[in-house]
């Protein structure tokens, strides 16, 4: 639930950010496009002003070009601004047209200006020179020719018709004089006249060309392009806004619903923390809290009800019937007492009641409760008076001890805690002792006080000893303790793994020093559940350069079959590295023979109970013979333990057993004795 809420909010934030980013990006683009439009419009305006300047060039005799040139400069600057502001637009097809046309226009303006000066100057000078000629001649004929030439020129300028030209050439040739001064005037007249004739059409053409460069259209096309893009983006933004709004509303709704559910769930969860879900009684956590919060703790006592043999009830009637019983008892207790009922473990109910409470009738009431139930059951009931120094742990232990005492007495009797109660004392010592043993064991592990002994395993056929069973010992002061003194405690407190590792360390060291000797090491059932032990064994063997095939790992039959799948896994993994396996204590389990087939082990060690009476018991002999045949049938080798005399060894040889070990073969020793 909580996770869904987190995901929803994250999704909302992410999508909102995406939307916002897109809208923001589009908005930027829209703003950008307005800037672009403004810039293009400005360029268009400058271009219009430039066109006006061009008209001045055409129509006026002389022009101040500063303005024109500043306009050109300004257009170039604005194009540069566009290049910086929006490179994509600057490089677009229409803008390419605009740029090319501006280039042409600027070049043409320069050409036209150059020609214009030359042409206009000649035209300007024409009346001046005519005036000079008039001053110097009387010949009416010449005057008429000059007048005619001037009109012809005018017509030519207006019509651009080259048909006038031949006539003009003829007339110009008449302008000759012997007067040096006059002749120079004629010469000047002809020079400028011809200059105009030559340049006027060119200039007219150039101006026409200049004016035909229509940048406006291309600029308009760019503007349309920008506007279309902008409209598209505005449209897109509208859609985005609508979408994001819808989404935000939807997601908010989802979050609202989820958080409402969450709140409800949270409330019920808080309640469940205090209460037991089955009986709706308060739970252990509530009990601890309430105990801690009691002010005058000595004024209270705790009444505890424990259903005897509840596990048995569970097995016999089924879990749902057992649950019904719990609910029944809880309800009954609640009716009986007006105090809070705490279900502190599966079948233990505690009630905190004041010292002053009267408990006279409780016994008969309890009897009624027990008798009117559907299921046969009885209760152990304890009463514990709280002390000032009590904490939950001491209270719990004392109640347990009292209940233990109650269980040994008549059912449904209320037993009050007392330090002089024999049973309570016994129970307390029992739990105290195991705690001490555990601490001792932890210390022993820390101090590495575990050592190994070796018991020879004798090859019956070749009559040699090249294998030893590694046996763990605990050094405590002067004493050396055998496994049965510590293994059970170690298994109970989960310390066996560490002990196994300490044993393996020493056994592997010995094996690496004696590469021609084989060793059998015992593993506990708990070890088979420990995957990291497989890695440990492999690494240790690599580190000490142990020949893995020299190592046999022994597990008891009961342990091996308690979780067959896990055992097979463990065995197969280590067999891959070359280790061998043996089944210890074979024959005591119920369905031994079947597992012979399933377990991929190399050796079977027949339990010593079949061996030690071999010379006296015919049936044991028959049994060992049979087992051995089966062992051989599955291709495994047999070992007999508890071989205590020559007679047993002889029988084993006769029965074709492969290996023998026992006090007759050799006692366990710290050295490898053969």
């Amino acid at each position: 639930m909580n996770r869904t809420l987190k995901y929803s909010i994250s999704a909302l934030v992410v999508i909102f950010v995406i939307f916002f980013f897109n809208i923001h990006k589009n908005s930027n683009r829209i703003t950008q496009s307005f800037l672009d439009s403004a810039l293009i419009q400005k360029i268009d305006k400058l271009n219009t002003e430039l066109n006006r300047e061009i008209i001045y060039i055409k129509h006026s005799t002389f022009t101040n070009y500063d303005n024109l040139m500043l306009l050109i400069k300004s257009i170039k600057e604005h194009l540069d601004i566009l290049k910086r502001q929006n490179p994509d637009l600057y490089d677009c097809k229409y803008m390419e047209d605009v740029k090319t046309m501006f280039e042409q226009k600027f070049t043409m303006i320069d050409v036209v200006r150059r020609e214009n000066s030359i042409l206009k100057n000649s035209m300007q000078f024409m009346p001046h020179i005519v005036q000079k000629i008039y001053k110097n001649i009387d010949s009416k004929e010449i005057l008429l020719v000059i007048e005619a030439l001037r009109f012809e020129l005018k017509y030519f300028i207006q019509s651009q018709d080259r048909a006038f030209l031949s006539k003009i050439e003829q007339m110009l040739s008449i302008l000759e004089s012997n007067d040096k001064n006059l002749n120079s005037h004629f010469k000047s007249f002809k020079l400028h006249y011809q200059n105009i004739l030559k340049n006027m059409p060119i200039q007219a053409k150039n101006i026409k060309k200049l004016q035909s460069i229509n940048i406006e259209n291309s600029l308009n096309r760019v503007l349309t392009l920008i506007k279309e893009g902008r409209d598209l983006m505005i449209d897109k933004n509208k859609k985005f806004e609508l979408l994001s709004l819808t989404f935000v509303i939807l997601m908010s709704l989802v979050i609202f619903i989820i958080s409402r559910k969450e709140e409800k769930y949270h409330k019920s969860y808080i309640a469940s923390l205090k209460k037991d879900s089955l009986t709706d009684d308060f739970n252990r956590a509530s009990f601890i809290k309430d105990i801690e919060n009691i002010k005058d703790i000595e004024r209270y006592m705790i009444l505890s009800f424990d259903i005897n043999k509840f596990k048995f009830i569970n097995d016999r009637y089924g879990a749902s019937k057992a649950d019904e019983l719990l609910i029944y008892l809880s309800t009954a207790l609640a009716e009986l007492f007006s105090y809070k009922i705490y279900r502190v473990s599966s079948n233990l109910f505690n009630i905190i009641i004041p010292q002053s409470a009267k408990l006279h009738n409780v016994k008969s009431d309890i009897k009624t409760i027990v008798n009117s139930a559907d299921i046969d059951f009885d209760l152990s009931i304890s009463l514990y008076h709280l002390n000032r120094r009590d904490n939950y742990s001491t209270i719990h232990n004392n109640i347990q001890a009292t209940l233990y005492s109650a269980k040994l007495q008549k059912s449904n009797k209320i037993v009050t805690y007392s330090e002089s109660d024999k049973n309570i004392l016994y129970y307390e010592n029992l739990s105290k002792n195991s705690t001490i043993e555990r601490n001792n064991l932890v210390k022993a592990i820390e101090q590495r006080r575990f050592i190994i002994f070796f018991q020879p395993i004798y090859d019956i056929k070749s009559k040699v000893t090249f294998k030893y069973e590694v046996l763990a010992r605990l050094k405590e002061g002067d004493k050396i303790l055998p496994p049965f003194k510590f293994i059970q405690i170690a298994e109970e407190f989960n310390l066996i793994g560490e002990i196994t590792r300490l044993i393996i360390d020493q056994a592997f060291l010995k094996a690496s020093q004696n590469p021609k000797v084989e060793f059998a090491i015992n593993l506990s059932g708990k070890d088979l559940e420990d995957d990291s032990l497989i890695d440990y064994i492999n690494e240790k063997s690599k580190e000490l350069k142990v020949i893995n095939s020299n190592i046999t790992l022994e597990i008891t039959e009961t342990e091996a079959i308690s979780d067959l799948k896990e055992s097979l896994d463990f065995i197969n993994k280590l067999k891959k590295s070359g280790f061998k396996f043996a089944i210890d204590d074979f024959g005591v389990g119920e369905s031994s023979l079947r597992y012979l087939k399933e377990l991929p082990v190399d050796y079977i060690k027949i339990d010593g109970s079949f061996i030690k009476n071999l010379e006296n018991s015919k049936s044991d002999r028959e049994f060992v013979k049979l087992i051995n045949e089966v062992i051989k049938l599955y291709g495994k080798k047999s070992t007999a333990e508890f071989v205590e005399n020559q007679a047993i060894l002889d029988i084993l040889e006769e029965l074709n057993i492969d290996f023998a070990q026992g006090y007759f073969i050799g006692k366990p020793d710290s050295e490898l004795l053969a």
């Binding site: 006026s60 005799t61 002389f62 022009t63 101040n64 070009y65 500063d66 024109l68 040139m69 500043l70 400069k73 320069d110 050409v111 200006r113 150059r114 214009n116 000066s117 030359i118 206009k120 100057n121 000649s122 035209m123 300007q124 000078f125 024409m126 009346p127 001046h128 005036q131 001037r150 120079s184 000047s188 020079l191 400028h192 200059n195």
Partner: protein, 298 residues
């Protein structure tokens, strides 16, 4: 007669705007201009450490050189006369062939040309970086020392070199008595004969390109062709400014003409196809002298 009438009519309409006075002042950054001034006078910028900007653009000679061709680093000599550095802020095209569009752009050539500084920006950056005082001043004005900022600093100083308030500018501003009758006549001839067709605007030139030699051609001059490699640009030059022209002899791109009179006659002959009378030359010359003015920022 009609032509004359039209001509006079058009003059009267546009004459007022054909030349504009130089503004009284121009905006520039004083601190940066001072830095630019130091660089302008610093000969260490050139290859041989002997030539500064000021060696050829002599401020006592109105920002130009009195020699036809100035000596560059290691005495190298190119083919162009050193023009005035005054009033460049109002120019449209720079260099004799109009191949630069800004003061900064224009300065690249004198710095790198083997006929002038024969230097490089690497050299100048190194020089400035090693000169503690200069480096400090530079970094006070710019975040770094590079080609861009060096040009900017120099340009800031050159921008400040303007010569407003010539007598003719005063006349343009409405003071009828600022120039003499002769000078007014000279101005009239200047317009009437068409000098104004190329020499117009604030700088009386420097805003267009024109072929040198229309009615007569001068041989062996590449002109703008050097830059554009277009045949139509052979012999084409930027029309020079006529501001302070009487102070900046010798004349033309190669400095081959020594006097103003010769220049005026030559222009009429080559460009306009007319022969001026001595009186006309004298009057134009007088008009041109009315354009002289002093630098305000020194």
């Amino acid at each position: 007669m009609k032509f004359l009438f039209i001509a006079i009519f058009s003059i009267s309409i546009f004459a007022q705007n054909l030349i504009k006075p130089i503004p009284q002042s121009i905006e520039f950054n004083k601190s940066k201009a001072e830095l630019g001034k130091i660089l302008f006078f610093d000969a260490n910028l050139s290859n041989d450490g002997e030539v500064s900007c000021a060696s050829c653009h002599r401020l006592d000679k109105c920002g130009a050189d009195d020699k036809a061709i100035s000596k560059g680093s290691h005495g190298a000599m190119g083919e162009y006369n050193a023009p005035s550095v005054y009033n460049l802020a109002f120019f449209i095209n720079y260099n004799w062939i109009g191949d630069a569009q800004s003061i900064e752009e224009q300065m690249v050539k004198p710095i790198t040309s083997k006929f002038e500084f024969n230097s490089s920006f690497e050299h100048i950056i190194q020089y400035i970086s090693q000169n503690e005082e200069l480096k400090k001043r530079f970094l006070e004005n710019y975040s770094k020392i590079d080609r861009d900022t060096i040009l900017k600093a120099l340009a800031e100083y050159i921008k400040s070199l303007i010569t407003p308030n010539s007598r003719f500018d005063k006349f343009l501003r409405g003071d009828e008595d600022a120039i003499t009758t002769d000078e007014k006549l000279g101005y009239k001839i200047f317009i009437k004969h068409g000098c104004i067709s190329c020499h117009n605007g604030v700088n009386i030139g420097a805003n267009m390109l024109q072929k040198f030699g229309v009615f007569k051609s001068r041989e062996n001059i590449e002109g703008r062709f050097e830059h554009t490699k277009q045949e139509s640009d052979i012999g084409v030059f930027r029309v020079p400014s006529l501001r302070n022209i009487s102070q900046t002899a010798p004349y033309f791109h190669d400095g081959k003409v020594a006097t103003l009179k010769e220049s005026i006659e030559m222009m009429a002959d080559y460009q306009l196809g007319i022969e001026l009378s001595d009186e006309e030359v004298e009057l134009i010359s007088k008009f041109l002298k009315s354009l002289d003015a002093k630098v305000i920022n020194e």
